[in-house]
């Protein structure tokens, strides 16, 4: 029996846990305010909130329900548009109407939920963050500017909460119905009564579901699955000595909110905002990004430059750079899965930067992405790693380029030569994301961008 809370209702279901949560909500619960627009996590019309207890504290995040397995709802609070609607409109809904921010209205429930997610986030409320909260919602009619006005109004509204707990504030201000106040206690009780279902070894693994449900929804829906998203042994981001260790099921949002990552990567928010969208970042696991083996996985490129190491369930240890044998071919057995990962935190002499260019400003797959990590010693580059995606069948390191940089003093000529060497390490193809020539040019520009960012005083010819 799979148990969770849906809006204000306790749910116990024996339906297949592989079923997408969207199907459960729409077809089995007949809550039709949550819309199906793409079933691939791209449009945001099916956005819901999922609340769970995180270190004993209730935390809500937005999810695209089309890619969320029902199994990932276990012991949690699922909130749909019906759950935030009250006899009188909440301030988000009222502001959307007042600002003429709804047209055909099909995307609107998703926008309401994303903004509700912003209201419940424990991050300091800022206009910028309210607007970022809708980065996974597409409106085709298209009222983005009016929706952004609404987001600004909501950001100002939420700023008044100061130190008040987000749920308490939202209930007090009638952003949410009063029964939300009791959810934390109900979830605590529910957690005690949960009986985890033993997962048979050998059955397919689901993490966040963001790739699996795009690739083969029909196959996995009725299958016996192992749900790793909430496995506590696969969660957590911590520092041990000079290493950062993270569980395989950590998400991009977990990274963004991690104190360790924020301390060592001051530009983290600028990097992570380039990765997919808010709900997908809340769902997609980092190990999932590695194992997906996309030639252009953003987090893969990020962690390649940090020379991340993987540990499998078998105890085998493998550098990430050795994971890829060929296009979508992995150096791992069927039974092996990643448990945790670690990398050396950059010290004061180590510089890191990540760049991505995509056709659309946000919510897009990269044309080319790259990260750099270099250690400086007495003005020389003592160690360099550059990763690049979208240029070869597998994501990888530009080892010749890095080797060339080592022992050198960074200047314009060096960067130009490095760019020339990098060209010999790639074999891009022309496709929907750009021509091969354009991708070659992009890599050159992005390597220059690395150096311009890391050495602002260097005069680099672009």
């Amino acid at each position: 029996m799979l148990r969770f809370i849906l809006n204000n209702e306790d749910i116990g279901t024996t339906l297949s846990p592989g079923m997408p949560l969207l199907d459960f909500i729409r077809y089995h619960q007949h809550l039709t305010g949550t819309k199906a627009g793409c079933n691939e996590g791209d449009c945001g019309a099916c956005t819901i909130l999922i609340g769970d207890l995180h270190n004993g504290e209730l935390r809500y995040r937005s999810f695209t329900s089309c890619l969320t397995p029902l199994g990932n709802a276990r012991g949690k609070h699922i909130v749909t548009i019906e759950g935030v609607s009250m006899p009188s409109l909440n301030p988000i809904q009222q502001a959307l109407i007042d600002n003429s921010a709804t047209q055909c209205g099909f995307c609107t429930p998703g926008f309401v939920m994303s903004l509700a997610g912003f209201c419940l986030s424990r991050q300091v409320p800022k206009r910028r963050r309210a607007i970022a909260a809708i980065d996974g919602n597409i409106c085709r009619c298209t009222g983005y500017k009016s929706i952004e006005k609404t987001a600004s109004i909501i950001a100002n509204f939420v700023k008044q909460r100061n130190e008040t707990d987000p749920v308490t504030f939202a209930v007090e201000q009638q952003i949410l119905p009063s029964w939300f106040s009791g959810i934390e206690e109900r979830l605590k009780k529910l957690t005690l009564s949960l009986n985890g279902e033993p997962a048979a070894a050998g059955t397919p693994i689901v993490g966040g579901g963001t790739d699996l449900y795009v690739q083969k929804p029909e196959d996995i829906r009725e299958q016996s699955l192992r749900f790793f998203f909430d496995d506590p042994s696969l969660k957590g981001i911590s520092r041990q000595g000079n290493k950062c260790i993270f569980g395989a099921s950590s998400t991009a949002t977990d990274l963004l909110e991690s104190a360790v990552m924020q301390e060592y990567f001051p530009q983290l928010e600028n990097y992570i905002k380039l990765v997919s969208s808010t709900p997908i970042r809340n769902m997609a696991t980092i190990a999932g990004n590695f194992i997906n083996a996309s030639p252009i996985g953003d987090l893969t490129i990020f962690f390649l430059a940090l020379d991340t190491t993987l540990e499998f369930n078998t105890g085998r240890i493998l550098p990430l750079r050795q994971l890829y044998k060929g296009y979508k071919q992995l150096n791992k057995t069927e039974e092996e899965y990643v448990c945790r990962c670690w990398f050396e935190l950059p010290d004061k002499d180590t510089l890191f930067h990540f760049e991505k260019v995509s056709k659309r400003t946000h919510l897009d797959i990269a044309s080319v992405n790259t990260a750099i990590c270099i250690r400086m010693q007495d003005g020389y580059i003592s160690k360099a790693r550059i990763s690049a995606g979208g240029l070869n069948p597998v994501p990888g390191l530009l080892t010749d380029t890095a080797a060339f940089l080592e022992g050198q003093i960074p200047d314009d000529a060096l960067v130009q030569q490095a760019c020339a060497i990098a060209q010999k390490e790639i074999s891009p193809i022309s496709d929907a994301r750009g021509t091969a020539d354009y991708k070659r040019l992009l890599l050159e520009q992005l390597i220059k961008a690395h150096f311009i960012t890391l050495f602002p005083s260097l005069p680099i010819q672009v």
Partner: protein, 713 residues
């Protein structure tokens, strides 16, 4: 004509239903005994089905039927239609034969008791094909042109003037396939009552049109076909016809004697519900040294299906937009092995305006004139195509207003002369135009004893806010408060109206609302009643009791008259934009937009502003990101999803300022309003291309303007 429509801003009347998720689109309708349909589609592009094995699918749990060309009941109305496409090819008869005419063509319907079971069973259908060579690449087959049945050749004056003038310009333009991609997926739910009566819920821009198509397909009586489409999650043109898959699903429901619901997938939205066709254009333009246009030649070749001709007015704008004595236009279509296109927001004109308004900009630079001044110099005071006066035309004022607002004349006109930080800065502008139409519409008014007013017409609201505009018009005519007025639409049993298309709804249906409210006032006067201070004056309850009626009712048909022949009626837009171009990566960002609309009196300012902003945003997509790409080796799309087909996201959209001229058109209709949905988008892509030229010195004549094109040598 008395003009008492005021334009006070009101909120959208269906806002509450939309922000709470209570609005029910067709997919949310459930009826007892409902079954679910999933379509299996062809994986080849041209050829035939050798064999299709449905046994495994039929045996899967919950499956009620698997329908293919081998067991599909005939559609009686289809057999009667003998029309032929220009290619002489065969008509598409979905599930009517073994022929495959495009990739993604439905070849089987799998119907089961639940959606999950239908989806699963659909994966079990096994098909063997006989492949034939296919054609999907317009550029490769551009010489295989056909003369379209409409929108043929046009010429006035000297047909060679464009190339013999002192200053000449020749340029070729390409626009790619664009897909409407409304957020709501298309589909249909059909419920039969016996053999000759059917109720349908669907996504359509015209319930009456859909009713007519179903009536004809199944040879039924009109009163026995009911179509509902109250909420529509965007259309942009794809809902302007009732698609063959809708008809076969309705037929399946009849055969099964069970209600059947189909909700298409996002991938199927790329192949089965139309698109803006890939179009090649050539413009040749001549001008005098002092900047007077002396000749224009505009040719367009658009793609269509092998089984049906699709035409649109791609080259029409060139005929009347500027005062040019010698104009020749030519329009051809090439049948390909593709699904048929359909009108997409700003149909024809959006494609043509990209070419014409890019060329006009280029010519302005050639004769060393400011592009705004060049347009004003060549302004057409009267319609040179039809030799008729415009019903209204405030373009000159619009040019000035927009130019001032964006600081047009303060820019340095020299290309590649402006920078902000690392980014090149460019200003560009263009003109958009679309016919201002008024069709026929009938509206019924019911005034209740409590003083509330119900208005009914079988029109649609695909997003622009039809109900809101209609309530506003009724409010202004009757003085009743907004809350006392309800407008009902999206139901074919209501008094007839045309489809929501061609930016004509406010003009067409609004006139009927205006007329019926006026007629209601007259009827009331005869009964000693009137509207005063937002309420009914006189004892309406006594009147109703005496008449033995629940409400006062009047129905009025409304349509344009002789004025439509005497005048040329157009809506105009002027788009100004500032773009930034990154010289290192070729990335283009639209930073600022000022759009001026000369679309007559603005009936509903809030929804009108939304329309303009939305259209411009669609224009940003057209200019910079939108392109459905076919791998011609296989004849299928490679980016048929919302991750890879890039509609704009909020971060792509800057501040958009809309300016309304807001002067009533004295001719077109009682409100003086002209259309707005199309002009919001038409021409915008040219404004961006012109701004990119100003920023970089480089002309991009193929959309979308992607970084690789900017950086290509």
């Amino acid at each position: 004509m008395k003009n008492d429509i005021q334009n006070k801003p009101i909120n959208r009347v269906d806002g509450r239903a939309k922000v709470t998720g209570a609005a029910k689109y067709f997919a949310e309708i459930e009826v007892p005994g409902m079954t679910h349909c999933v379509m299996v589609t062809s994986t080849i592009t041209r050829g035939s089905i050798t064999s299709i094995d449905t046994k495994q699918a039929e045996r899967a749990p919950g499956v009620l039927a698997v329908l293919t060309h081998l067991n599909m009941p005939a559609i009686p109305g289809w057999a009667a239609d003998n029309s032929k496409p220009s290619s002489g090819g065969e008509k598409l008869r979905l599930l009517g034969s073994d022929k495959i005419l495009f990739n993604g063509q439905p070849i089987a319907l799998v119907i089961a008791d639940t959606l999950e079971r239908a989806q699963y069973a659909a994966t079990l259908v096994k098909t063997i094909y006989k492949k034939e060579a296919h054609k999907t690449d317009l550029a490769k087959h551009k010489t295989e042109v056909h003369m379209p049945s409409r929108l043929g050749d046009y010429s006035r004056g000297d047909a060679n003037a464009h190339s013999t003038a002192p200053v000449t310009l020749k340029a070729d333009y390409v626009i790619p396939i664009e897909v409407h991609n409304p957020m709501e997926l298309h589909g249909v739910l059909a419920l039969w009552d016996g053999e000759d009566k059917v109720t349908v819920w669907t996504k359509t821009q015209g319930v009456k049109d859909t009713q007519e198509t179903i009536t004809a397909a199944f040879k039924l009586e009109e009163k026995n076909v009911q179509v509902h489409s109250e909420f529509v999650g965007g259309g942009f043109g794809m809902g302007l016809r009732t698609w063959p898959q809708d008809i076969v699903v309705i037929a399946a429901a009849k055969k099964l004697k069970r209600p059947v619901k189909l909700v298409m997938t996002r991938q199927q939205m790329f192949t089965m519900v139309g698109y803006r066709p890939y179009t090649l254009q050539h413009i040749s333009m001549g001008a005098t040294a002092d900047g007077k246009l002396s000749g224009m030649y505009h040719e367009a070749i658009g793609e269509t299906a092998s089984y049906e001709d699709f035409t649109e007015a791609t080259v029409r704008m060139t005929r009347f937009m500027y005062a040019c004595p010698n104009v020749t236009t030519k329009y051809r279509i090439v049948p390909l092995d593709r699904g048929v296109p359909i009108w997409m927001r700003g149909p024809g004109e959006a494609t043509g305006a990209f070419a014409l308004e890019s060329a006009i900009d280029e010519m302005a630079y050639k004769v060393n004139m400011d592009p705004v001044e060049f347009r004003i110099l060549n302004f057409a005071e009267t319609d040179p195509e039809r030799n008729k006066p415009f019903s209204s035309n405030h373009l000159k004022e619009a040019y000035q207003l927009g130019a001032e607002k964006i600081g047009w004349f303060k820019r340095n006109r020299q290309p590649r002369s402006m920078k902000e930080g690392d980014w090149l800065v460019g200003y560009g502008m263009s003109t958009g135009v679309f016919g201002a139409y008024r069709g026929g519409s009938t509206c019924r008014a019911q005034l209740n004893g409590d003083g509330s007013l119900v208005l009914q017409s079988a029109t649609a609201d695909i997003g622009p806010g039809t109900g809101t505009a209609m309530v506003q018009i009724a409010h202004e005519v009757t003085g009743l408060p907004i809350e006392k007025i309800r407008f009902e639409l999206g139901d074919s049993s209501l008094p007839p109206s045309g489809s929501q298309g061609g930016s004509a709804t406010v003009s067409t249906v609004g006139s009927a609302v205006y007329d019926v409210c006026t007629a209601l006032k007259e009827m009331m006067a005869a009964k000693g009643l009137s509207f005063e201070n937002g309420a009914v004056k006189g004892n309406i309850k006594d009147v109703l009791a005496a008449d033995g009626k629940p409400y006062l009712e009047v129905t009025k048909e409304s349509k344009g008259g002789a004025e439509q022949q005497k005048y040329s009626m157009y809506s105009f837009s002027i788009h100004f934009t500032e773009v930034h171009v990154h010289p290192g990566t070729g990335v283009v960002r639209v930073k600022r937009v000022v759009t001026v609309a000369d679309s007559g009196r603005i009936v509903s300012p809030k929804t009108a502003a939304s329309q303009m902003i939305g259209g411009v945003t669609g224009g940003i997509g057209m200019a910079l990101t939108e392109e459905a790409i076919i791998d011609h080796r296989y004849g299928r799309f490679v980016n048929n999803n919302l991750a890879d087909y890039h509609v704009p996201v909020s971060a792509d959209v800057p501040h958009i300022e809309t300016i309304f001229i807001d002067k009533p058109d004295p001719i077109i209709n009682p409100m003086g309003s002209k259309g707005m949905g199309e002009i919001a988008l038409i021409g915008f892509s040219a404004a961006v291309a012109n701004a990119v030229y100003h920023a970089t010195g480089k002309r991009i004549r193929e959309l979308p303007i992607t970084p690789d094109k900017i950086l290509a040598v």
